[in-house]
Symmetry: C2
Subunit: 438 residues, 2 copies
Amino acid sequence: MKALQVGLIGFGTVGRGTWDVLRRNEEEITRRAGRPIRITWVATRTLDRAREGLRGIDGVNLTNDPQVITRHADIDIVCELIGGVEAARAVVMDAIAHKKHVVTANKALLAHHGTEIFAAAHAQGVMVGFEAAVAGGVPIIKALREGLTANRIEWIAGIINGTSNFILSEMRARGATFDTVLKEAQARGYAEADPTFDVEGIDAAHKLTIMSAIAFGVPMQFGKAYAEGISRLHQEDIVYAEELGYRIKLLGITRRAQDGIELRVHPTLIPAKRLIANVEGAMNAVLVKGDAVGPTLYYGAGAGAEPTASAVIADLVDVTRMHTADPEHRVPHLAFQPDQMSDVPFLPMGEVETSYYLRMRVDDRPGVLADIARILADREISIDAMIQKEPSEGEYQTDIILLTHRSIERQLVDAIDKIEALPTVRNKVVRIRMEALN
Amino acid sequence: MKALQVGLIGFGTVGRGTWDVLRRNEEEITRRAGRPIRITWVATRTLDRAREGLRGIDGVNLTNDPQVITRHADIDIVCELIGGVEAARAVVMDAIAHKKHVVTANKALLAHHGTEIFAAAHAQGVMVGFEAAVAGGVPIIKALREGLTANRIEWIAGIINGTSNFILSEMRARGATFDTVLKEAQARGYAEADPTFDVEGIDAAHKLTIMSAIAFGVPMQFGKAYAEGISRLHQEDIVYAEELGYRIKLLGITRRAQDGIELRVHPTLIPAKRLIANVEGAMNAVLVKGDAVGPTLYYGAGAGAEPTASAVIADLVDVTRMHTADPEHRVPHLAFQPDQMSDVPFLPMGEVETSYYLRMRVDDRPGVLADIARILADREISIDAMIQKEPSEGEYQTDIILLTHRSIERQLVDAIDKIEALPTVRNKVVRIRMEALN
């Protein structure tokens, strides 16, 4: 049967991985897809290096102009693997305009322009695959979009940034500071020279935006996401959390609440006995709570050449299997049919309800705790657990660590303002959110 | 758009769960599927009870004759939820003969008759969905068949029997014996009155047979599966394993080895730090190793009314989305195209290579360990770790616990025969297999 022809745009880590896996497993992939899938065109800015890498291989053409591929009559599927937002958007929109199916690993692109891209694809009758955009090789998009279709999704909580999870794992295992571990991660190539996207939660917020849309049938609204990273996490809070039976993870959480949808990325205390609390190193894991199935968890490598290629190629096979079928039979891009999206709002962070870990440095004298407890009680914030350390020899200050029950963030922020205004409280209150995930 | 009409055959736990979830989430499911899915017929042997349960509900018809449904002109999809093998086979084959799509949760049926059923479905151009047959609500069939299509699957290791995992979790947590925990599990409805299928590994072998076929593109061959259960596991081996840094789980393992495919269910030591070693209670988890993606893990409820219904309905939505598309566009039942199945053999258990935990009761005198070590060395079985306990006060015997490196099962069985023949060895050698899962 005639091969499906793929044009790769971008030949960096993921592009090269896709090329390698597709060739190595060609026989099995063809047996699954029903027809061969061939990369016949590659576009790259570094033509010389690509020429070197592809030396001696027949049937593949090179160009440095993406439009040669997006407009080529023989190309069935365009793989956008250049990353970034604006150039990638131009490539994807041009491919769709020329009735090519698209496969992309680009979470930033979709979080910002997904609505426009899926509308254009729908109008042109082509498919856009993006399994690789969330959690790398873990087929979480497919699970949400097809595996859990029976469920009203209640919430999703994911470790979806491998760099951050690697740093947090090392901080906990070795008692090292954020700065130390980040430098090592950069030296070993686990973190970028500018790590902002990873450690400040922006990359995770991109991925969370995509999952939220699929879970709840809402348009992608990255602008509504709250993102707080791990760069200001103190080693001692990891230790206190451990004492209390918790681990700190950078979680992306999206939840269907009474009045809207929560969409938030932040360091989070979770009970140490939960499976997801034990996901270590650069691995990803997504915990999904459905009303019928209960909690399910999906775990695997969230980045890297071949894990990402695994997801890119899964999309290529899906497109191949459906290529000539009429559009009404295809799985909808965002799980729900395009005319069935909901306009339920995303909640501002102040309206979110969660539990909190609070650490404060206080004078060691009578009445301090009573003042703090009154401020919390006045705002209906109740205390779940507490550690108060004995002051060290010769010191007159000590740490109080409080865990609260579920409270409204706005109330909690107000309480912290009042606590910090007490003359007996000596520092800014450290506040980390906490989720039971049960 | 016209509703897809479903006939439920069987209205027990899963049938009732499917009914409940489909009604409760009707609005969201329709938004995903693109058209309504309605149960219009229910067949059950207990008509009175079903009538009571469905009182006041319009548009559903009851019968005690499955053929009324399998041959009804208006029915699009037949859901077989009666369980068992022969009666279920008759229902499914009759439905296929009358060009109905089929959704089933029946692992025993597929493990025994899958080849025949999928061939008939292929000939008639209908789909057979069976997501619910393995790991309940966890979409592991979809992950293997669609999510990981890029990969050469190297092995799968799964906790795929909730009853056994519940018993093992309780034995470890409370130091209780198998018999004690089983009786409690039966009292609480977690285990059947006759628990053989669950605790002897047969149910797990059914599920493993199905996963193996999908992973490796081979026909289902339940007869080639090795099944060993947990009923003869001693509490003390769980404790010794723990001391050595391992947990004991009933794993279904299928692996692509040099000369064929391994297909085996048995209690297995796995490193305690692996995520899958921390799956507790009645939950299921499947760890899949692909050559590109590396290890991925899928976790969730493996049984129960609504988790199983979640998978049944996911299949209903898949069938609905594809219903009128021509068959060539559908995902192949067993992941590989039907004319692309492989005839690679399954390996007999004697040819399987794995590591072992051995416990033996020996006289506490010089030379005993040397004799045992020589027997192992002569068969190229090398020792990875050992515990030798001091004898208790006034005793002249002690336990030796050995962990071996990877060895051929046939050699190991021969070594155990020779060890048991030593006059200084006082009991049958306890042998539990061990997997690093890395």
